[in-house]
């Protein structure tokens, strides 16, 4: 089967159930999030997961995050990764380093690289085209790259439409688009979290354009910062609505804001110490109960998205195992390298071996997948 055909076939397979009248409304979802019991939501989500993935298989992808630069003009308040162009520890990876990382990834059985970086004012469309071409010339590997804020930045700098930009990048070798930069798709929240980052509608436009060009993408949501339950529902609504039209999302990945080393947290600290309260002086990361609730709700509400990922990088392996009974069917990536979450001081490191063991210990059959959720290898017990 050619790669194109394979992707198409997977796309068809991944429309689990056609939207129907019985789907959960946003109003219902909001009330579940606000006052639903965690265990009730978990049980419902677990049953849906069993219907969609009856084989008790939990998948993961072997890949590496390659962050080509940390220079970024957006400077989002929740991010601890960005640097100014002149900062001492600002960097842009050179090609040799990049190729060495890819070679190592392939050596470890990797099938994908996730290339993401800051919005670097000195890099133009040619840089990205060359980057993609040079990788494809040398390696057979899926390039999952450039979240919507990057795509928009590249398009704007080159004065091209999103469609033109994505077409050019695709021709140069871009295979699929990661769902980062969605944060919370509610402009009220984005105004505070990431005032310079693209607005919700533009994020969705990039995804829609990519889907219409035949590219698959994921969708993420970062919650647990300053949003309210309504904002989470707004986000889920936007994803479900777009998915109804395009079917291009392979997976939904909710994760929680990690406050370490971020401006958002520093500001919270200042405000609280000014008031002189006894409350914890920093923003508290979402607790396990909150994480599982959002995860389960995502599984329940997003009836048209086939896969829900557990985020062991932000939650740790133990909670990720529990997440497999609260709606998740995928363990995400083995993350041979991860820099962005690690810069907040949260660093759950693990290996492929540990991921396989963790999935098995949770009572599931571990399986390595590719970007399109085709299973490459299973580890039967």
């Amino acid at each position: 089967m050619t790669k194109e055909k394979q992707k198409k076939k997977t796309a068809e397979k991944q429309m689990p159930c056609a939207p129907d009248a019985a789907r959960v409304t946003s109003k219902e979802a909001l009330s579940m999030l606000k006052s639903g019991d965690l265990l009730d939501l978990g049980l419902t989500a677990d049953n849906i997961r069993k219907q969609l993935h009856p084989e008790k298989v939990v998948t993961f992808v072997v890949d590496r995050n390659i962050n080509y630069t940390n220079v970024c003009v957006n400077k989002c308040t929740f991010c601890a990764f960005w640097r100014d162009k002149d900062a001492q520890d600002a960097y842009t990876l050179d090609r040799d380093t990049l190729f060495a990382k890819i070679e190592e990834t392939l050596g470890l059985g990797g099938t994908q690289i996730l290339i993401q970086g800051g919005l670097h004012p000195g890099l133009d469309l040619d840089y990205y085209v060359d980057l993609l071409r040079s990788i494809k010339e040398r390696f057979e590997i899926n390039i999952h790259g450039f979240s919507p804020p990057e795509i928009c930045y590249i398009a704007d700098s080159a004065d091209l439409t999103l469609r033109e930009t994505l077409q050019i990048l695709r021709q140069a070798g871009l295979d699929s688009v990661p769902g980062g930069g969605a944060e919370i798709l509610s402009d009220r929240v984005r105004e505070v979290l990431s005032p310079r980052k693209i607005k919700s509608s533009r994020w969705l436009k990039v995804m829609e354009t990519a889907h219409l060009l035949g590219m698959r993408t994921t969708a993420t949501m970062m919650f647990g910062s300053i949003e309210g339950p309504e904002d989470i529902i707004t986000h889920l609504e936007a994803i479900r609505e777009l998915q109804d039209r395009t079917g291009g999302f392979t997976a939904f990945i909710p994760w929680s804001f990690q406050p370490g080393n971020t401006e958002l947290n520093a500001e919270a600290q200042k405000r609280k110490s000014a008031k002189g309260t006894r409350k914890p002086s920093t923003l508290q990361p979402a607790t396990a109960v909150e994480y599982l609730k959002v995860l389960a709700l995502s599984r329940i509400y997003l009836d048209n998205v086939a896969n829900i990922q557990a985020s062991w990088v932000t939650q740790g392996l133990k909670l990720a195992q529990v997440a497999l009974r609260f709606g998740a069917n995928d363990f995400g990536s083995t993350m041979i390298e991860e820099n962005v979450v690690a810069s907040t001081g949260v660093s759950f490191r693990t290996s492929k071996h540990e991921i396989i063991n963790a999935i098995r210990a949770a009572g599931f059959i571990p399986a390595q997948r590719d970007t399109y959720y085709n299973i490459l290898r299973r580890w039967e017990t």
Binding site: L43, K279, P280, A288, Q315, V322, R325, G363
Partner: protein
């Protein structure tokens, strides 16, 4: 299968060992959680407890060589340490004021040279300096050792410590009672039966104790049920146990191969303990061993206590502890609230502490 057990439990009937075994094997974690929560609520309402406490480990020098332990050292070995009375008092003085602790938890290695009088002086000195501080100290294993080095009976040993100010006894050293497993895990350590005998004596002289179980290493579910059965039986006789604390095995730096327990196994163990140990008032999800996240979830699976501020933790962290060493009272209270329960700061006997804020 769970429906039958549910009915039994709801009627207030005891579940059998074979039913407990089936619960360990059950995949239906949601039913387990709901029955266990029902029982927890019946016993403690919507309350979940935490304590302002501090751990002190006077020494890591130990004559035993338990295979699962990454804390112990031999005398003279690199990393071996001994705290003096002054050092311990100093640690407590700082914490006492800064964190307003109400309890000190003291456990340590079986030191080859320290006499029983060292421990008596330790307890007396703490009591003298901090008369209101509750001293929860010395596992059954240490009590047995003190009796050997002092030549006193177990009861005399306990009474002497009690006179000096000992308030209660922690539940450590139980590990797994089943002899076949215990001999592989910790051949030098007192037997399971001896551990139970020491606890029975403590209850007899009026000292409340806790009970633990170390799981997730080489034991089977059957061994876990056997362990719980022996605890339930003794509790029927004495009623002296306050809390049961399942302890998840940590694999780093130990001689037993293995991995971390799964989050699901941790939660299931909490729930089965809550259901089987119907004569225990409290099930504790010790956050240092389970991690904050699983510990919070355990409140949905039958636990009603998450331990306390700890301040400094050495034993779990020697074996690859996954958490930081301390949480503030505010953080503990917040975790409990976000699990939908009412946080209650407790004293060492589960009485609510009232503070003027």
């Amino acid at each position: 299968m769970l429906a039958k057990i549910r009915n039994k439990v709801l009627l207030g009937k005891r579940i059998t060992e074979s039913e407990a075994l089936n619960l360990f094997k059950s995949d239906d974690i949601f039913s387990l959680a709901s029955i266990a929560s029902h029982i927890a609520e019946k016993k403690n309402g919507r309350k979940a407890y935490f304590v302002r406490n501090r751990h002190i480990n006077p020494t890591n020098i130990c004559v035993n060589r338990c295979r699962f332990c990454a804390f112990s050292r031999s005398k003279g070995q690199e990393g071996a340490y001994e705290l003096t009375l002054e050092e311990i008092i100093k640690k407590l003085r700082i914490t006492h004021h800064a964190s307003r602790i109400t309890e000190v938890h003291i456990v340590g290695g079986l030191h080859p040279d320290w006499p029983f009088t060292y421990y008596l002086e330790l307890v007396s000195a703490i009591k003298k300096e901090f008369p209101k501080l509750h001293i929860k100290a010395f596992t059954a294993v240490e009590i047995d050792y003190f009796s050997k080095i002092s030549g006193l009976s177990i009861e005399e040993t306990l009474n002497t410590l009690k006179r000096c100010g000992l308030g209660s006894i922690p539940g450590g050293g139980a590990e797994i009672f089943a002899p076949a497993v215990r001999n592989k895990l910790c051949p030098e350590k007192i037997s399971g039966q001896r551990w139970l005998d020491v606890m029975a004596s403590a209850h007899k002289v009026g000292l409340r104790t806790n009970a633990t179980m170390l799981y997730g290493h080489i034991e089977s579910y059957k061994d876990r049920v056997d362990h719980l059965m022996k605890l339930r039986r003794l509790q029927d006789k004495t009623g002296g146990f306050q809390a049961f604390i399942p302890l998840a095995y940590h694999p780093k730096n130990t001689e037993i191969k293995g991995s971390y327990t799964s989050g699901l196994d941790d939660l299931r163990t909490i729930a089965v303990s809550r259901l089987y140990l119907d004569n225990f008032d409290h099930i504790k999800a010790y956050w240092v061993m389970l991690g904050e996240k699983i510990s919070q979830l355990a409140l949905k699976f039958g636990a009603d206590d998450i331990d306390g501020t700890i301040i400094e933790e050495k034993i779990t962290h020697s074996a690859g502890g996954l958490t930081g060493g301390k949480l503030t009272a505010e953080q503990l209270s917040d975790m409990i609230k976000k699990a939908g329960r009412i946080p209650v700061e407790r004293d060492s006997f589960y009485r609510k502490i009232r503070r003027a804020e």
